[in-house]
Amino acid sequence: MPISLSPQDTMALWVTFKLAVISTTILLVLCAPAAWWLAHTRWRGKVVVEALVTLPLVLPPTVLGFYLLLLLGPRGWVGGTLESMGFNHLAFSFTGLVIGSMIYSLPFVMQPLTNAFQATGTRVLEVAATLRASPLDRFFTIVAPLARRGFLTAAVLSFAHTLGEFGVIIMVGGNIPGQTQVASIAIYDHVEAMDYQSAHALALILVILSFSLLLAVYGLNRKFKVVGVGS
């Protein structure tokens, strides 16, 4: 079966890819310090933070999307504030999608990073400090390399999770071709319209893409394996 994509489907793939890359990147940058704090804090309120961070994992995506829609829409706290400042609200926009995916994928980034940082421990950092390494230097030469499998796992999970996102996006983003229509929703639309041919093409591309990604990651993970350190 020859795979041919309509321009709209190509666009949907592009939006999906863009969304996954952007939200994963922002998540990694924001979650690294947060996960470090969570891994090493002795604060009692830590459990509340842990529960909150894990919440997107158990909530139905539609629930998450519904609240986000309220929050980001023209009458919502965030959307309303933006409108009053002369900006557009965020419902049915690509920015809204990014925010939605970030919250949706949060636990998939926090969990591996926190685990990796816990495994790293604080002793190696104390050693590095006595060897004249400044805090930033310690992060890049000790923490990052020791936790690199954690970073890799977090990035892949977040990316893959965003590829398959449906519920949150349909609530927050609507289904605007070229802007907020992602591949998973385009497939749904094709099926609804009984256009199995197009659905097949998109679905197959997603399968191949996801599989190649995971294959590359597991390959890298082997190569990256740090002698003597668990992930």
């Binding site: 002793r123 190696v124 104390e126 590095a128 060897l131 390494a133 400044s134 230097d137």
Partner: protein
């Protein structure tokens, strides 16, 4: 004094309250039981622990007071932890060079080759930490600290996590360090053997307080301190190798109070050597004991007689040419020989541990 420090801390039921003066040369041992605050003090010196009520000066530079705190990575010190804590993602060479690369080129007085030779690391450089034994790892960790050309070396029980064999492997290196380094070393230990072998000065700690601080030989033999009354009570004699008696497999150690015959030592004549003598291995006689299998008899003067917690025993403090020996003898012998302060007697030494 190169280090002047005052640390006060209350944490749960642990109270730390010490004032320390640590000399700018030689090894100073922080000695005490676990929970006496040794490691906390060392961590405060390094800046790994930041306590509020503290003041710390090193060679006249302020490191910490009520309003100022110099961060760890800006203090010119080397720190050896209890476990080697090598960076697992770097091989031995890159572990060694981690700190070296981070100091200005002009301040690098210690070079990789020096450390490799000093600590015998020639064959280990390309190995990763998980392919090294405990003793080898600790040697790399010591070398790594030395390669920052520190002005102060802090060591937190560097042998505590090692088995007996690895300890035996590390000790000679530590002794070489003591003899070849010109910087002060602060060494935390709860083993009096280790302290007697390595230290020149000692801070005696108990429950967060410094009971006493001063030269090792003085503190070991001060009868108002618990050390002189412990089962391991001992004195350290410092002398030089005088002559080897090869056929008898003996080496003669000379010092102002006489000479001691010890088992043969592979050291050149004239090298300084320390001998540790346990109080329980010393007995006294009024006349020179000619018919005895004991090799060593020294003429000494009794400078003090004090009660021993062990029932029926006393501790004699003996002056041997300016150096002090301890003897634990029975109360009965003390009475029968009518020993008294100022009296000259013969000390018979049954065992000498060379350090």
């Amino acid at each position: 004094m190169s280090i002047q420090a005052r640390f006060r801390l209350e944490r749960g039921d642990f109270t730390l309250d010490v004032e320390l003066q640590i000399p700018g040369k030689g090894v100073t041992a922080l000695f005490g039981r676990s929970g006496s605050g040794k490691t906390t003090i060392l961590r405060c010196l390094a800046g790994l622990e930041r306590i509020e009520d503290a003041r710390l000066q090193f060679n006249g530079d302020l490191w910490q007071d009520a309003t100022f705190f110099l961060p760890v990575h800006q203090r010119p010190l080397g720190y050896v932890f209890q476990e080697a804590s090598l960076f697992p993602h770097l091989n031995a060479r890159n572990n060694l060079l981690y700190g070296f690369k981070r100091i200005p080129a002009g301040e690098r007085r210690v070079k990789l080759d020096d450390v490799v030779t000093l600590l015998g690391l020639e064959t280990l450089l390309d190995r990763y930490p998980d392919a090294l034994s405990g003793g080898q790892r600790q040697r790399v960790a010591i070398g790594r600290a030395l390669l920052t050309s520190p002005q102060l070396l802090l060591m937190d029980e560097p042998m505590a996590s090692l088995d007996v064999a690895s300890k035996g492997e590390i000790l000679p290196y530590l002794e070489r360090l003591r003899d070849e380094l010109s910087i002060p070393v602060v060494y935390v230990s709860h083993s009096i053997e280790e302290v007697a072998r390595l230290a020149d000065h000692m801070v005696l700690l108990e429950a967060g307080r410094a009971l006493a601080q001063g030269p090792l030989q003085t503190l070991l033999t001060r009868t108002d301190l618990p050390l002189a009354h412990s089962e391991q009570a001992s004195a350290v004699i410092e002398g030089t190798v005088a002559v080897h008696h090869a056929p008898d497999h003996l080496t003669e150690l000379a010092f102002a109070g006489g000479s001691l015959l010890i088992s043969h030592q592979e050291r050149a004549v004239g090298t300084p050597l320390r001998a540790r003598i346990l109080a329980r291995d010393v007995s006294v006689a009024l006349t020179r004991p000619d018919a005895s299998s004991v090799l060593n008899a020294l003429q000494v003067r009794i400078s003090d007689i004090s009660d021993d917690p062990q029932p029926g025993h006393v501790i004699l403090t003996l002056d041997a040419g300016g150096q002090t020996l301890l003897a634990r003898i029975s109360l009965r012998s003390c009475r029968q020989l009518a020993l008294a302060k100022g009296q000259t007697v013969w000390a018979m030494v049954k065992g000498v541990a060379v350090t």
